[in-house]
Amino acid sequence: MSIFKTLREKPWDAQVAAAGNAVAVAPIDPQGAARIALRFIMAIVSVLFLLFIITFLSRSQYPDFQSLAGQPWQPFTDPTRLWINTGILAIASLAMQFGLASARSAHLNRAIVGISSAVFFSILFLLAQLDLWQHLYALGFYVNTNPANSYFYVLTALHGLHMMGGLIVLANVVFRVWYDGSPESLSGPLQLCTTYWHFLLGVWLVLFALLTSRPETINALAAMCGF
């Protein structure tokens, strides 16, 4: 791998130094910095959720933990509502992709349609999640009645917050393009936003799978982690 090759370089060698004189470091690429930053953001967010998931698995092995699926009276034994929300989020992702493709092929109107429907469905997703919270509350699944409930609320809230962060950045991108008035420059930043949307969809799918797992699955996963 190139990183190992880099680490084996001998910068003190005058021959090498002379040979390296001509070498320019990566050409200046305004999008490059943002792309690297996005990669780091996705890594950090993954670590954040991963840690939550690990504590979830560990906590699940204590006797008071009652997972949200499995028994008929538990809310996610029938995950229809979650599927609907997942569908909404997936549509948002697709709309972003469509917007991106249109921006790339310089179809500005289509790009705007794509972005606005992505925003619409993202907000719809957030509202649907809120509605789900209310539904659970009505059923008596409060935040503090069981650790499984607590995890459900915390994880969905955190995911929602990251969605909102994405919306703010997206708004910023659109505004800048609007006012600086060079629609060709839209596709670069939009590419990054789209990646982030897909990433959040991926995170959500993992959370979805975890939160609707039956106790046997959770126990098996926890056992694999050594809890």
Partner: protein, 586 residues
């Protein structure tokens, strides 16, 4: 994206005009660095005063009415947390990271200056939240800087109500600030290096700061996760960490949560944190040593590898802080082994520093004194760490003053030594003037000798069995009278060391106006930050054109060269390519 381009814009930048945009809402990395540094040193002084108060109580128990057991615990907690997070992390990365990264890699600024500015303001907010806890009912939390539940949020612990909430909130804000800053540092290093500045030509300072930032970005989420969950346990009665328990005769509503889970999360952050402050210090001390010994750093590649290896390993040693919490013996064995393995790259670094000095042309300047002082304190702290890494030795010593002495040597005093070395070393660059050397030397000797006067006896007290986080010893059979005498002497030394920091403050402030003007590159250093057209560097750093880099950062005393250093932006000559290569350069 308009911001991105600033870092490597080829044309000159112009100063912002108004005072506000220049010094307050500044997006210039150098101003932000000074803002970070000033704030960090200010809270650091608060923490220093707190340690003085603790020492007064320990040295002369029953003499001070206003220090009661609760206040003592609050002092301990705030002192520890401020020193580790709000002083060291902020000053090393927010301060020096910000100042040095663009200058050392030849960029005009950070790649996201606006985010960088936000990072500082969030940091300031976190400091304000933290300090405000001194003024709320019940005062700041006294849970210890480790904040272990269940006690951290239960009645009986000082500040269990407001204090702990503010602490957790402040930490969360700090983490957001750090993440914004950290994204900038890593992206700038990866993306905005000037022509010819390959990764392996970067000074070790940058390698240290870069790796530490990556560690921070991946480790702080663990603290965030634990802060969020503890906050919920406190505020809405979830049971992430809180077991079913009876407190003050009352059954609480908590069901069977797991306090040990918190400990794992905390130390999964806490151990890398040690290296978040150590790695930048390692990097900076390497550069100070090489510059003032007029010699290339011994084993540059090995140093880079060691930094990266230590960074990686630091994620798999955390449970050595939890031997007394109880764990499967196999885990104890595993974590003891990894802990001892991490000593290998660390020892390599120490050897390389010493070998850099070997036959160097050592100039005992003030920064050099501090850098050499660091080699001593770090070696001592590291050696006791090897003891504590073993389960059987740690069990009796855990929670005694031996541990306090160990971690102060290794992560308290050592990074502080490097910070002083760095401040003195880069002072002429930041201000264009030289500090007062006599005051600097006084500062060094008081601090260095004082450190030993404080911490050497502490090891001994610890072996006697004096426990840490104790307000007073009372009458205890196994601890002889004489331990108290020792305690009094430690306190006197600590107060002297504390006061001697006035040498430093006076020096820094006095020399800004009255120091001798130094002009360019007074130390004869090779790295790029000293090659700026203006001293101190102006907005945009490089005037009309970005520098070009032709060599690594350690061409000191090259045989045949005119001077005993060749800056990184000087092209390699013909003679260098033919001659010289066999004689030197390990």
């Amino acid at each position: 994206m308009q911001h991105v381009a600033i870092a490597d814009q080829t044309e000159e930048l112009h100063d912002p005009h108004s005072f506000i945009t220049k010094y307050v809402w500044s997006q210039d990395h150098k101003v932000i660095a000074i803002q970070y540094g000033g704030t960090a040193i200010f809270v650091g002084l608060v923490a220093l005063v707190l340690s003085g108060l603790m020492r007064l109580q320990l040295g002369f128990p029953e003499s001070f009415d206003f220090i009661d057991p609760s206040a003592y615990l609050q002092f301990v907690t705030m002192h520890g947390m401020i020193m580790v997070i709000y002083l060291l992390t902020a000053l090393l990365l927010g301060g020096f990271g910000n100042y040095l990264i663009p200058l050392m890699i030849g960029a005009r600024d950070m790649v996201f200056p606006y985010l960088n500015m936000l990072s500082f303001w969030f940091y300031l907010l976190s400091v304000i939240i933290l300090l405000s806890s001194f003024f709320v009912p019940g005062g700041p939390t006294g849970a210890g800087w480790t904040l272990y539940p269940p006690q951290a949020i239960l009645e009986g612990t000082p500040g269990y109500d407001w204090g702990i909430i503010l602490m957790l909130a402040s930490l969360a804000v700090f983490i957001i600030a750090f993440t914004m800053g950290g994204l900038n540092y890593v992206t700038t290093v990866l993306q905005a290096r000037t022509h010819g500045m390959t990764l392996m030509r970067m000074p070790l300072t940058i390698w240290g700061i870069f790796t530490a930032t990556v560690l921070g970005l991946l480790a702080f989420p663990a603290l965030l996760v634990s802060a969020i969950m503890m906050m919920l346990d406190k505020l809405i009665g979830t049971s992430f960490f809180m077991p079913a328990l009876v407190s003050l005769g009352e059954n609480l509503d908590y069901t069977g949560g797991s306090p040990v889970l918190f400990q794992h999360l905390f130390w999964f952050f806490g151990h890398p944190e040690v290296y978040i402050v150590a790695l930048p210090a390692f990097g900076m001390v390497s550069d100070v040593l090489a510059t003032h010994a007029r010699k290339n750093i011994f084993g540059y590649r090995m140093m880079v590898w060691a930094i990266v290896a230590i960074g990686g390993l630091s994620f798999i040693v955390w449970a050595h802080h939890m031997y007394v919490s109880g764990m499967h013996p196999a885990f104890g064995f595993f974590f003891a082994t990894t802990t001892l393995i991490i000593a290998v790259p660390t020892a390599i670094k120490v050897y390389n520093w010493v070998l850099t000095l070997w036959q160097g042309n050592i100039h005992l300047t003030v920064p050099m004194l501090f850098a050499i002082g660091f080699i001593f304190t770090f070696t001592h702290g590291g050696l006791t760490g090897l003891f504590l890494g073993n389960v059987v030795i740690d069990l009796p010593l855990s929670d005694t003053y031996f541990v306090v002495a160990h971690f102060h040597m290794v992560m308290g005093v050592s990074p502080i030594m490097v910070l002083f070395a760095a401040i003195y070393h880069w002072y002429p660059l930041m201000t264009g003037r030289m500090f007062n050397v006599t005051l600097g030397k006084l500062h060094f000797w008081f601090t260095f000798l004082g450190t030993y006067a404080i911490y050497l006896p502490m090891h001994y007290i610890g072996i006697l069995g004096v426990p840490r986080r104790y307000f007073a010893m009372g009458t205890t059979d196994f601890i002889p009278e004489s331990a108290q005498t020792l305690n009094a002497s430690i306190t006197v030394s600590a107060l002297i060391v504390g006061m001697s920091q006035l040498f430093f403050l006076a020096n820094v402030f006095w020399s800004i106006r009255n120091g001798e003007k130094t002009g360019h590159n007074p130390w004869g250093a090779t790295s790029l930050e000293w090659q700026t057209p203006d001293v101190p560097p102006k907005h945009g750093n490089w005037g009309k054109e970005l520098p070009r880099v032709y060599r690594w950062a350690y061409d000191y005393s090259v045989p045949g060269a005119k001077e005993d250093f060749i800056p990184q932006n000087h092209p390699v000559t013909k003679e260098e390519q033919t001659g010289g290569e066999h004689e030197e350069k390990a």
